[in-house]
C-alpha cells in the first residue's frame, strides 16, 4: 500500500513535495553554514590571540629560589617548547656624554637577555638602528640621553660604582606593557607604567654587572623565565584558554611557590573567548530565526495540500484504512521530504562554505564538520516530521469522514488568538527588554581568571518574543482585514478587477487563511532580512567608527618619540595636497593619586574640523556641548566613568592632577574641574584617560608640544595622502592612515569581520523572503487551479484572470511588506540595543542599508509578480483537462 501511495504522491504532487523539500533544504543549509561560520570564527579568534602574544609566559622566579631550578621545572612542563632566563636589574639611572653635554636619566631597568632571545621571541624587540645583539638602548632612553650607536652609557648601580658600556643599537619594545608587567599582581589591579628608561645587555655582561649587586641588594634584581609554548591548541578559544591556564597553574603548583606565571597567552585567549561567546550569541540571534522561518515555510508548504490531504484521508478511512496506516503514510512522506531536503541543504551549505570561507567543510575540523552537518540534517528531519506528521495526526483526531470534505466552511479562530497570545508575547517581550536594559545589556560575562564564561541567553528572549508576538499580531490584523474588511479589499481591488472586485474580494475573504499565512510568513522573512541587515550595517558603521577612534582621523601624524613639535607645524601639513584640515592634539601622562592615565589636550573649538566626535562617546552632555564647555571654561576636564566612580566625582568638582612640567621635568599639580564623562576619544586607549583644553595644559606645563596631528582628507585617498606626508616628514614622524588601521584594530570579532556571517545571513534572508512570498503564493494558486479553470470555462478573459491573480498578489505583497517593515524596524531597534555589547563603540544612530532593503523589496516583488504572471499564463490553458483532473 505504501508503495502505491508513494508512487501516486510522487507522480501527482511533485511540486508540493519539491517545495517542501526546498524549505527543509533552506533550514539545513542555513544551520550548517552558520555552524561553519561559528567554528571558523572561533578558530580564527584563537589563532589571532596566539599570534598577538610576544612571550607566552613570563615566569617570575620568586626571591630565594634558584632560577635554574625553575627553568628545569618549566622545561618539564607539558606544552613548553623553549625557555629563556631574563635578568631584570634596577638601575639608579643612566647617563651619557654626547656632543659635549652630559644627559642623565632617572631610575630605569637593565635587562639581561640570552643570545637566543630574539630568535625565540621575535616580536618582543624591534631593532631601529645599529646592531641587533650587544648593548641595546630603548628608543625613549636613547632620546633622553641623546645617545646613538657607538656612544658610551654609564649604568648607575645602588651602592656601587657605575659601569660603562658601549651602545651598539637602538630598539623599540612594542610589548613593553606586558614585558614589564608586575607578574602575580592581583586581578583588576591598576596597570603600572613601563619604566621610562630601559637598557638591554647580553646575558653574560648582565651577570658580571649585577651579580654582586644581587647579593647586596637582592630586592633590586630578579629573574624571569620567558616561555615559548606549543601553539597546538584547541580551536575553541574557551577550550584553549582552559588548557593554557591549567598548565600555568600546574607549573605554579609544582614549583611550591618558587614561580609565579605571568600568563600572557592565557590573558589573550581569555579576551578571545569573550569574543567567541559573542560570536555564539550572534549565531543564535541571527541564525535561529532563519531556521525557524525555514521551518515555518516548510510547514506552510506541507499544509498547502492540507485540504486535499484531508479529503484523501477521509476517503481512505471511508474505504477502511486504519489510522495507524494513515500515520505511516504521512511518516513516509515526511521522511522523503526530510531526506531530500537535508541532502540538498548540506550540498548548498558546502557550496556556501566554499564561497564564503574557501572550504567546503562545515567547520574547520573534520569532527566539528560532521557534527554540524549531523545537527543540521537532524533538525531538517525534525522539521519535516513536525510539518507533515503533526497536522496529519491532528486531522485524524479531529475530522470525521464527513467533515473531511469541508474546505471553506466557517473559519474558527485559533485558540492562541482567542486567548490573546500575541498581546501577551509582546508585553513579555517588553518586560524582558526593559529588564535586560536595566542590566546594561551585559550579554557576556567573562571574568578574568575564571574558567567559565556566562552568556545571558535570557536577553535573547526579548527580540525572540517580539518577533513571534508581532508575527501573531500580523496574523490577527491580516485576518481581520481580509475577513471583516472585505469591502475595503473590494474597493482597493476595483481598478484592477473592475466589476469582479466584489466576487474576488469575497472569494479571497472566504479562503483567506492560506493568504494570511503567506502574509505572515512574508512579514517574518522581511523583518528578519531587515533587522539582520540593519544590525550588520550598524555593526560595520561602528567598526568604522572604531577605526576612526583608534587612528584618530583619516590620517594621523605622530612625531617621532623624543622630539618636540609645536602646533604651528600644522601649517606645513596643511600644504600637502589632499589635506582638508589639520588639528594638533596633545598627549601627556597625568597622575591621579598613584594611577597614571593618558591626558589629551585638544582645541575644543576646532577639533571637529579633523575628526568626528559622536555623542555616544560622552555622558553628561553632547559632544558639541562638552566641547563648548571646554572652550568657555578652559580648566574643565572630561574623565572616564571608572575614575568618576573611583574618586566619587560630581560635576564641577575640583580635580588635581600631577603633570610633568616642561622646564623642571618634575611633576606639578594642575587644578581642573570635572565637567563630564568621556568613554571614547580619537587616538585614546580603551581604558581610562582625560580630555582637557590644550591651551590650558600648555599654559600650566610650560609646553605646547603636540602628541599627534589629526589630518582630515574628507575620507578620500587617505592612503595616498598619508604617503605624501610620510615622504615630506621622513623619519621625523609616523604616519598612519585609517585604511591600515581598519585591518589591524578591534576585537577579533571585528577581525572575523562578520563578513562571512553577513554574506551567508543576508543571502539566506533574500532567499527566504523570495521563497516565503513566491513559493507559498505559487502553491496557493496551484491549489486553486480548478477555480481558475471554471472561471475560464465560464468565459473569463485573460484580463479577468490577471485581475484575480495580481489582485491577490498585491494584497499579499502590500500586507507582507508593510507588516515586515514595521516589525523589522522595531526589531532592529531592540536587537541593536540588546547586542550593545557587540558594538565598540556603542552606536548613537542605527545605520539603514537602503540598497540591501531595496534588493529585498525588489526580489520579493519580482518573485510575486513572476509567479502571478506564470499563473495567469497557466490559467489561460485548456480548462476542461483541469476540471477533469480534480
Amino acid at each position: 500500500m505504501i508503495g502505491i501511495w508513494l508512487g501516486g504522491l510522487l507522480r501527482r504532487r511533485p511540486a508540493r513535495l519539491g517545495a517542501a523539500a526546498i524549505g527543509i533544504a533552506i533550514a539545513v543549509a542555513l544551520l550548517a553554514s552558520l555552524g561553519s561560520f561559528l567554528a571558523h570564527s572561533k578558530a580564527t579568534m584563537t589563532d589571532r590571540a596566539v599570534r598577538g602574544v610576544a612571550v607566552d609566559w613570563q615566569v617570575q622566579v620568586q626571591p630565594g629560589t634558584d632560577p635554574a631550578a625553575v627553568d628545569r621545572l618549566v622545561q618539564a612542563t607539558a606544552g613548553v617548547q623553549a625557555s629563556a632566563a631574563v635578568g631584570f636589574a634596577q638601575t639608579t639611572g643612566l647617563s651619557a656624554t654626547t656632543g659635549g653635554s652630559t644627559q642623565a636619566t632617572g631610575p630605569g631597568v637593565v635587562l639581561g637577555l640570552p643570545s637566543s632571545y630574539q630568535q625565540l621571541f621575535p616580536t618582543e624587540i624591534r631593532v631601529l638602528t645599529g646592531a641587533g645583539t650587544g648593548v641595546l638602548l630603548a628608543q625613549q632612553t636613547a632620546a633622553n640621553l641623546h645617545a646613538a650607536p657607538g656612544d658610551v652609557v654609564n649604568i648607575g648601580r645602588a651602592g656601587q660604582a657605575p659601569v660603562r658600556v658601549t651602545v651598539v643599537g637602538v630598539v623599540d619594545l612594542p610589548q613593553a606593557d606586558s614585558l614589564f608587567q608586575k607578574v602575580g599582581a592581583p586581578v583588576g589591579a591598576q596597570r603600572t607604567a613601563p619604566p621610562d628608561n630601559v637598557l638591554l645587555l647580553p646575558q653574560a655582561q648582565w651577570h658580571t654587572t649585577f651579580d654582586a649587586l644581587a647579593r647586596s641588594r637582592p630586592d633590586l634584581i630578579s629573574t624571569q623565565i620567558h616561555v615559548l609554548r606549543s601553539h597546538q591548541l584547541p580551536q575553541d578559544p574557551s577550550a584553549a584558554y582552559t588548557a593554557v591556564t591549567a598548565a600555568a597553574h600546574n607549573l605554579e603548583a609544582r614549583s611550591s611557590g618558587g614561580a609565579v606565571v605571568g600568563d600572557n597567552l592565557g590573558a589573550a585567549l581569555g579576551a578571545a573567548r569573550q569574543d567567541a561567546a559573542y560570536a555564539q550569541v550572534l549565531f543564535l540571534f541571527l541564525g535561529l530565526p532563519g531556521a525557524i522561518l525555514a521551518g515555518l515555510l516548510t510547514a506552510i508548504i506541507a499544509s498547502a495540500g492540507a485540504t486535499r490531504r484531508r479529503a484523501e484521508q477521509a476517503l481512505l478511512r471511508a474505504r477502511g484504512a486504519a489510522a495507524s496506516q494513515l500515520i505511516r503514510l504521512a511518516a513516509v512522506e515526511a521522511l522523503i521530504i526530510g531526506v531530500v531536503g537535508a541532502v540538498v541543504g548540506l550540498a548548498v551549505a558546502a557550496l556556501v562554505g566554499r564561497l564564503a570561507f574557501g572550504t567546503a567543510r562545515f567547520g574547520t575540523s573534520t569532527a566539528s564538520a560532521s557534527a554540524w552537518a549531523g545537527i543540521a540534517a537532524a533538525i531538517g528531519l525534525a522539521i519535516a516530521g513536525a510539518a507533515v506528521l503533526v497536522p496529519a495526526r491532528r486531522d485524524l483526531r479531529q475530522s470525521t469522514v464527513a467533515s473531511g470534505r469541508a474546505t471553506v466552511g466557517v473559519l474558527r479562530y485559533p485558540s492562541w488568538a482567542r486567548y490573546g497570545l500575541d498581546a501577551i508575547l509582546l508585553i513579555v517581550a517588553g518586560l524582558v527588554f526593559s529588564a535586560t536594559s536595566r542590566n546594561g545589556y551585559q550579554l557576556v560575562l567573562a571574568p578574568e581568571g575564571v574558567p567559565t564564561i556566562s552568556v545571558s541567553y535570557w536577553a535573547f528572549a526579548g527580540p525572540a518574543l517580539l518577533w513571534i508576538g508581532a508575527g501573531l499580531l500580523a496574523w490577527r490584523l491580516s485576518d481581520l482585514l481580509l475577513g471583516r474588511g472585505r469591502r475595503v479589499i473590494a474597493w482597493v481591488l476595483r481598478p484592477l478587477t473592475k466589476r469582479m472586485s466584489g466576487s474576488v474580494a469575497s472569494g479571497m475573504s472566504r479562503q483567506r487563511r492560506p493568504l494570511v499565512r503567506a502574509i505572515v510568513l512574508l512579514a517574518l522573512a522581511i523583518s528578519f532580512a531587515a533587522s539582520t541587515a540593519i544590525f550588520n550595517s550598524t555593526y560595520r558603521q561602528q567598526a568604522e567608527a572604531d577605526a576612526q577612534l583608534t587612528n584618530g582621523a583619516d590620517v594621523t601624524v605622530t612625531p617621532a618619540p623624543g622630539t618636540t613639535v609645536q602646533p604651528t607645524a600644522a601649517q606645513q601639513l596643511s600644504g600637502v595636497s589632499g589635506v582638508k584640515a589639520v588639528e594638533p592634539i596633545q598627549h601627556r601622562f597625568a597622575y591621579i593619586g598613584t594611577d597614571l592615565q593618558d591626558l589629551y589636550g585638544v582645541r575644543p573649538t576646532s577639533i571637529t574640523n579633523a575628526t568626528a566626535l559622536q555623542n555616544a562617546y560622552f555622558h553628561g552632555g553632547t559632544a558639541a556641548g562638552l566641547m563648548h564647555t571646554l572652550a568657555t571654561k578652559p580648566d574643565s576636564i572630561l574623565v572616564s566613568a571608572e575614575t568618576v566612580k573611583d574618586y566619587q566625582l560630581g560635576v564641577g568638582d575640583l580635580l588635581k592632577l600631577r603633570l610633568i612640567d616642561a622646564v623642571t621635568h618634575q611633576p606639578r599639580m594642575v587644578a581642573f574641574h570635572y565637567v563630564g564623562v568621556v568613554s571614547e576619544f580619537p587616538t585614546a586607549p580603551k581604558d581610562s584617560f582625560f580630555v582637557a583644553n590644550a591651551g590650558y595644559v600648555a599654559q600650566q606645563t610650560g609646553s605646547d608640544a603636540v602628541g599627534a596631528f589629526l589630518v582630515d582628507t574628507g575620507g578620500q585617498h587617505s592612503a595616498a595622502v598619508a604617503q605624501r606626508i610620510q615622504h615630506l616628514l621622513g623619519s621625523a614622524a609616523t604616519v598612519s592612515s585609517i585604511g591600515t588601521v581598519r585591518k589591524s584594530v578591534g576585537s577579533s570579532l571585528t577581525a572575523v569581520d562578520l563578513a562571512g556571517l553577513t554574506r551567508v545571513e543576508l543571502s539566506f534572508a533574500l532567499v527566504l523572503a523570495a521563497a516565503a512570498g513566491g513559493l507559498v503564493f505559487a502553491l496557493g494558486l496551484s491549489e486553486r487551479r480548478r477555480t481558475f479553470a471554471i472561471a475560464r470555462a465560464l468565459g473569463a478573459k485573460p484580463r479577468h484572470l490577471r485581475g484575480m491573480i495580481f489582485g491577490e498578489a498585491g494584497v499579499l505583497t502590500v500586507g507582507g511588506l508593510v507588516s515586515g517593515a514595521v516589525i523589522g524596524w522595531v526589531l532592529s531597534q531592540m536587537l541593536v540595543k540588546v547586542l550593545t555589547g557587540v558594538f565598540d563603540p556603542p552606536p548613537s544612530v542605527i545605520a539603514v542599508p537602503w540598497l540591501y532593503l531595496g534588493a529585498v523589496l525588489g526580489i520579493t516583488v519580482v518573485a510575486l509578480a513572476g509567479v502571478s504572471a506564470a499563473a495567469t499564463r497557466a490559467a489561460r490553458g485548456p480548462a476542461i483537462s483541469v476540471l477533469r483532473e480534480l
Binding site: R405, A406, T407, V408, G409, K498, R499, M500, G502, S503, S506, G507, M508, R510, Q511, T787, I790, A791, A793, L794, G795, A796, K797, H800, P878, A879, I880, L883, R884
Partner: protein, 241 residues
C-alpha cells in the same frame, strides 16, 4: 422543428455551414486524447449543426463521447481534425461570457463563492453591472426553486442542489445556446422534471437553442429531437427530425 441537424455527408454539411443562422456547425469533427497506442478517439466524423430552434437530447452509452462533443461545441476543446464554427455567434465563443450557457457534468461551482455569487459570475465576466447581475442571479435561482440557498456555500449543498445552481448559472446570462451535460444526473424524478421544465421554458423564452446530454430516457423524451452517439460517432439524428 429542427431541420436535418446531423448528417454525415459532405454536401449536407457544406449546405449547413453556408447556413448563416447556424449557432454551431461541426464539419467532420474528431477529437482524440493522447497519442500512440494509448490514444482514445472520443469523437470522430461528427458533422452536425445547431440552429436557433434546435431542441435536442444527446444520448448514448457512457464513454460514447457526449461530454467531449459538448465541450467541442462550447469551444472549450479544440478538435484534432475537422472544423468547428459558430456562424451566428460571430466567431469563437470562448471569452464571450454568457453567449453559450454551459452546464458541466461534474461539480463546477467555485468553492469560495456563495451560490448567488456563483450564478452572477458569468454576468459579471460579461460586464453586467453588479446590481443587475445580482438581481438576475436571484431570479434564476428562484426559477429553479432554490432561491433560499442564495447565501449558501457550494460545500454546503447536496449534489442535486449544486447541479441546479449550475443550471441557474447557465441560464442567468440569458444565452442564445444552452449546452447541458447530464443536468439531471443527480436529481430525483421530480427535481429532474423541474429542471427540464425550466430548461425548455428558458429556451423558449430566450429563443435559445438547447442541447441536453442525458442517460435518462424520461428526460430525453421530453425533448423534440434525439441525437445518439456510439463510440464517438453520431449514429442517428436527422431521421427523427
Amino acid at each position: 422543428m429542427s431541420r436535418s441537424p446531423a448528417r454525415s455527408t459532405l454536401e449536407d454539411t457544406s449546405l449547413a455551414v453556408a447556413d448563416g443562422r447556424a449557432l454551431i456547425a461541426c464539419h467532420n469533427v474528431a477529437r482524440t486524447f493522447g497519442s500512440g497506442p494509448n490514444a482514445v478517439v472520443a469523437v470522430h466524423g461528427v458533422t452536425c449543426q445547431v440552429l436557433p430552434d434546435t431542441r435536442v437530447a444527446l444520448t448514448g452509452p457512457s464513454g460514447s463521447g457526449k461530454s467531449t462533443l459538448l465541450h467541442l461545441m462550447a469551444g472549450l476543446e479544440q478538435p484534432t481534425s475537422g472544423v468547428m464554427s459558430w456562424p451566428a455567434l460571430g466567431g469563437h465563443p470562448l471569452g464571450e461570457p454568457g453567449r453559450i450557457g454551459v452546464i458541466f457534468q461534474g461539480p463546477s461551482l467555485l468553492p469560495a463563492l456563495d451560490v448567488a455569487e456563483n450564478v452572477a459570475l458569468p454576468l459579471l465576466l460579461g460586464d453586467t453591472p453588479e446590481g443587475e447581475a445580482a438581481e438576475r442571479a436571484q431570479a434564476a435561482l428562484d426559477l429553479l426553486a432554490i432561491g433560499d440557498l442564495a447565501r449558501s456555500l457550494p460545500e454546503q449543498l447536496s449534489g442535486g442542489q449544486a447541479q441546479r445552481v449550475a443550471v441557474a448559472r447557465a441560464l442567468a446570462a440569458r444565452p442564445s445556446l444552452i449546452l447541458a451535460d447530464e443536468p439531471t444526473g443527480q436529481l430525483d424524478h421530480q427535481a429532474a422534471s423541474l429542471v427540464v421544465d425550466v430548461l425548455l421554458q428558458a429556451s423558449a423564452e430566450l429563443g435559445a437553442a438547447l442541447v441536453v446530454s442525458t442517460h435518462d430516457r424520461l428526460v430525453a423524451e421530453r425533448l423534440p429531437n434525439q441525437w445518439t452517439m456510439r463510440d464517438g460517432a453520431m449514429t442517428s439524428g436527422s431521421d427523427r427530425a
